[in-house]
Structures are given as C-alpha cells and as structure tokens.
Amino acid sequence: MINQLKSFFTSSRFKIALWYAAVFLILETILGVTIYIYILQKSEAALDSNIESQAKAILRGIEEKHFDLETFQSDSVYKSKDELIWDILYEAIVFNRRNTFIQISSSSGVIFKSANLSGNIIEIDRINENKLLNYYNPQLSEHTIRLCLLKGRGYNVIVAYPTEQIEQMLGLLKELYLIIAPLFFIISIAGGFVISYKSLSRIDKIIVKTSEITARNLKEIIPGGNYKDEFGRLVNTMNEMIGRIKKSVEYMNEFSLAAAHELKTPLTILRGEIEIALKSEKPKEHYIEILKSNYEETLRMTRIIDNLFFISKSENSLITLERRPVEFYPLLKSVVQNMRMIAKEREMDISLNLTSDITINIDAGLIKQALYNIIDNAVKYGHEKSTIEISADETTDKININITNRGIGIAPDKVEKIFDKFYRADESRTRKSGGVGLGLSVVKSIIELHGGTVSVSSAHGDLTTFTIRLPKENGH
C-alpha cells in the first residue's frame, strides 16, 4: 500500500498533473491580480474624472456668471446667496451623486457647502494648485474620500466622493474569486490527471510489453510503432534496439554452440583415453603414449579457442593490423616449407610456382596464419600421395595466390558456405580437424581485414582451388 502510494507520487502521471495544476494556479493568480488592479485603476480614474468635471462645471458656472459672491445683494431674481449658488450648481448637481460632497470657498472662508457635509468643513492645506487627492475624515465617511480641488479666480471648488463603492465592488470581486479560483484549481488537477493518463497509458503498454521481453522471446515486438508521434518513434527505436540485441544474442548462441561443438571431439578423446588408462594397469610406454596424445588434444583445444576468439574479436572490430612492408614471396616460401613437413605425414608434396617478388604492406603474422590454415586444409582434404599446387602472380593492383589440391572436394551447394562463421560444411570436416570451419573463417577474417578476398572453386570429388586476392596498395 505504502509502496503503491510511493510509486504513485513518483509517477510521471502524478508529476505531469502536478505541473499542470501548478501552472494553472500561477496563471489564475496572475489573472486575478491583474483584473483587481485593472478594475481598481479604471474605477478610480472614472471617479476622478467624474468629480473633476463636476468641480470644473461649478467653477465655470461661478466664473461665467460673474457674480461676486462675497458682496451678494438680494435682487428680484435671487432672494438669497444660496439661491444664487443653487442656480449655479444646478448643472453640476444634475450630475451629482448621492454622496458627492461639494464645498466652495473664497479667501474669506467657506461660501457654500453641500448639505451632506452638515457641520464639517473640508480643510485642505496649501490650496495653491489644482489637485486630485485622497482625503480621510471619519465624520464624513469611514472610507477614503477621493477629492478634487480646483482653484479659480478667487474661488476654490472642492468636489469629493467616498471610494466606498469601488471598495465594495472589489470586495465582491475578491469573494467571487476566492470561490471560483480553488474550484478551477481542483478541476485543473483532475484535468491534469486525465491528460497525463491519456498520454501516458501508451507508455504503460510499452512498459508492460517490454518487461515481458527476455532473451527467449526477442522475436516479439512492442506494438504501437505505426503511430507517427513521439511514442511511435520511441516504440520503433526500442524495436530496433531489440532487433540488434536479438542479432547479438543469436551470434553469442551460435558462438557458444560452435565452441561447445568444436571442443567435443578433443574432449571425447581425452576422456576416453584417460578412462581406459585408469581402467587397468598398463606398461609404462602405454601411459607415455596416452599422455602424448592427451597433450596433442590440449593443443588442439587451445587452437580451437584461439580461433574462436580471433573470429569473435574480428567480428567486433577489436583487431588492429600491424602492417609493415613485407617481401611477400619469401614469406609464402617459409610457410610452404613448414607445411611440407605436415604434408609428408600423408605422403603429400607441395609445389610452389612464383613469378618475381613483390613487397606489400601487411600484417605478416596474420597473413602467415591465413596461409597456414588454408594449406593445412588442403593437406587434410587432399588425397594421400597427391601434390598440392601453390602459385602466385600479380595483376596491376593485386596479388593472386592459388592453392589447389586433389581430394574429396566440396559439394557445389556447400562451396559458398565454407567460409561462413561456424559453418560445418561436410559435417565431418570441422569435427575431425579441430575446427576447419573455424580455420577458414579465420582466413576470411584476416584477408578481409587486409582489404582482400578469398574464394573457392571445386569440382566435387576432384580439384579444389582456394584463391586469395590481396591488394598491393592499400589506403593505410
């Protein structure tokens, strides 16, 4: 349960939903604050222009009528000063709001004040200039009062209005916001989960399928590669990776199978000979003979393992050629000289037919190895008492070496395959020789590392010719 919770909180689904909600919350807050400030400023500006225009209208009224309010005399039109002022204010008062405070004063003191001011006088310090300002007087209003002071010729007009309505409106807005914002926030979390679930459910499918794949079922593929989006690409990439893994697993399986197979013959001999040696007491010579044979078999096993490693290394490009200029024909001659000793055991001879010498840039050790392997093969599968013919000539850019033996040959359908890694041509071949299949694979690897080719042509049951072509010049 705890683990489930833990994995839930660490899941991408949860994180995405959380991110989504967090971004939404930030946006919501910015939006709220922006609306608040915007409405506040607009309302204040509207109020300011309102009281300012009223003040202007009053001042204009007074100045246009050219009354001297200070020295008012009652006449037929205006019985009292207030009547006169009311007339002046009429236009302004049309626009007056319930709570607009109006006060007119001159240098001698307050001339007029609206009824809602009752006993209060709005006192402003330094009335030298027109201004809009905040004014606070608890007797007039518990809210801040926005005040406009206009200075006319001899008269000061004050129009003021409490900001109560603006504050009320903003208060309502705040309330509304505090209800809606958390609601939207919750909805956004839910939405985040839905979106992350929808987009990640395909990831879940990929996870389930991938976790089922082991070395045994690498043939299976992860479905969903036909989508053209990121998930489709992910699936395709993973399937390609599985394909590559499958290839190398197959290679490893083939390799270990080949290794086991190649090692079985020497092991059979070792085991059998040792078992029989231990079965009953035998003369000393017998033990020596068995030990000699055992020694041969361990050498053979070493050779098999060396070959396997070489093929494996060259397959993985781990071999670096140590090239240097070598006179080729003396090298070939020395190999043939050594192989003649081995051919003698089967009463075979090796003839060598060379044209003039040439120097080429090769890894002499490896090329020798390749030549040994290929001639050894010719000796093993040649008829006893026959002759192996080796010839070498050159074209403009290549050296061609032909090794021909008369022997059991290679069946036409197998000719193409004998260089394949781990291929057991005529199944008896590899087994007998302690890895001829390997030997020829090694030849192919070496020659190809040098940028050359090796091929074979055979009349089944008769002549078999191996041809090695090595480039004279190489780019290295």
């Binding site: 059979t268 000979e273 029989i276 059991i408």
Partner: protein, 222 residues
C-alpha cells in the same frame, strides 16, 4: 563377441578399440561408412558402433543402407549432436541406440552389453549352463562356485558358446565372432582352444560341457 567400430576420428576409434578389447571383445575398425560397408558384407558382427558425421557416407546413411540389405546387427550411434531431433533421426534410421560425445566409457560398455543381450540372447549379465556361470561384467567364470581362470580367447569362445546355448556353433562362426579379421581362419587354432577349455571345465559328472558335433561344430547344452 565381435564388434565393428566405424569412426573417422582415428584417435576415438583407437581408444574405443583398446577399451573394448580389454573387455574381451574382438574389434574391427573402419574409418568411414564405405569401409564399414565393405567389412560388414565380408564378416559377421554382433554389434556395430558407428559415428554419425563421417566423410563419404555418414552413420545414418550407413544404417539405412545395411537395414535395406537385411542386416539386423544392432547399431549404436555415436555423435556430438545431442539435440532430440538428431537422436530421433538416428534412431528412426534403424539404429538401436544413441550415445553422445563425450561419453563415459563405462556407459559405452554397459550399452554394448545391453545391445548384445537383445534378440535371442539371454537378458542377464550372467550366462549359465549346468553348474557353469559366466559373469559378463566381471569377466569371471565359475564352475559349481569354483573360480576358473581363462585366457581372453578361451573366455570369448566360452561366452559365444554360452550365448548360443543348445545351438550348434560352427568353427567358422566361432572364428568370426571371437577374432578380428586379421586372423587366419585356415588354422585349427579353435580346436586347440576348445581342448584347453575342456580341460579347465572338467565336469565332475563326466559328460563334457562342450560337445563336439561331428562335421558341424560345437555346442553347450543345459
């Protein structure tokens, strides 16, 4: 008992021959299926041990060929292939048993004994006649619980006669089943061995264990 070993790996053939000879079997060796066929048409064998992967003619082709020609000799196949598929293929070709390399030599000899017990041969590792007992595993012969010391050839002759108890065995058959093919069958060496055997197995009751059937050969009866 005479066994043909067909194996192209000379060293394998050599140790099988040596080991089985120590078990007192007569062994012929062929290095491929074709040579094997030549020998099998020339001689009579009690058992064939054949490798599968060989040049010219592989073990499976070899078994099919001899079965087609009516040769019923039990065949034990040897191979490095240990998959079920290749075992099935081997056995279905007409072979009687299958052993994968590398094998334990003890297992090979046990399988050889098992295959030789088949058909009309008794199904035990001890052959009996009267008070005479021959232990095929320990290579021990007792007469009324008394140990009898025999040379390998005497043992082989006695074994063959006991396996064919109550039947008449010709001199030729004895030579074929006791010796390998280098033996010159023109000599009367069998008679010499039979005489030596008779001396060692003097029956207290008087009647000789090994009876001569004039003009036909020898027999051991219960």
């Amino acid at each position: 008992m005479r066994i043909l070993v067909i194996e192209d790996e000379k060293k394998v053939a050599s140790f099988i021959k040596k080991g089985l000879e120590e078990e007192l079997y007569g062994i012929d060796v062929a290095y491929n299926g074709k040579e094997g066929l030549e020998l099998i048409y020339r001689n009579e064998y009690d058992l064939i041990i054949s490798d599968i992967m060989m040049p010219y003619m592989n073990g499976i082709e070899f078994v099919k060929e001899i079965r087609k020609n009516g040769i019923e000799t039990p065949v034990l196949l040897l191979t490095v292939k240990d998959s079920t598929k290749s075992k099935v293929e081997g056995l279905d070709s007409g072979a009687d048993d299958y052993l994968t390399k590398p094998f334990s030599f003890d297992e090979l000899t046990a399988r050889v004994r098992a295959l030789l017990r088949r058909k009309d041969y008794p199904k035990e590792n001890i052959l009996k006649a009267g008070g005479l007992q021959l232990d095929l595993v320990a290579h021990k012969v007792t007469l009324f619980n008394e140990d009898i010391i025999l040379t390998p050839k005497e043992y082989s002759i006695l074994e063959y006669l006991l396996r064919n108890k109550n039947k008449v065995v010709s001199r030729t058959k004895l030579i074929e089943h006791v010796y390998d093919y280098h033996f010159d069958s023109g000599t009367n060496v069998i008679d010499v061995y039979i005489n030596k055997l008779r001396n060692k197995l003097t029956n207290k009751g008087g009647k000789p264990f090994i009876q001569t059937i004039r003009g036909m050969g020898y027999t051991i009866k219960d």
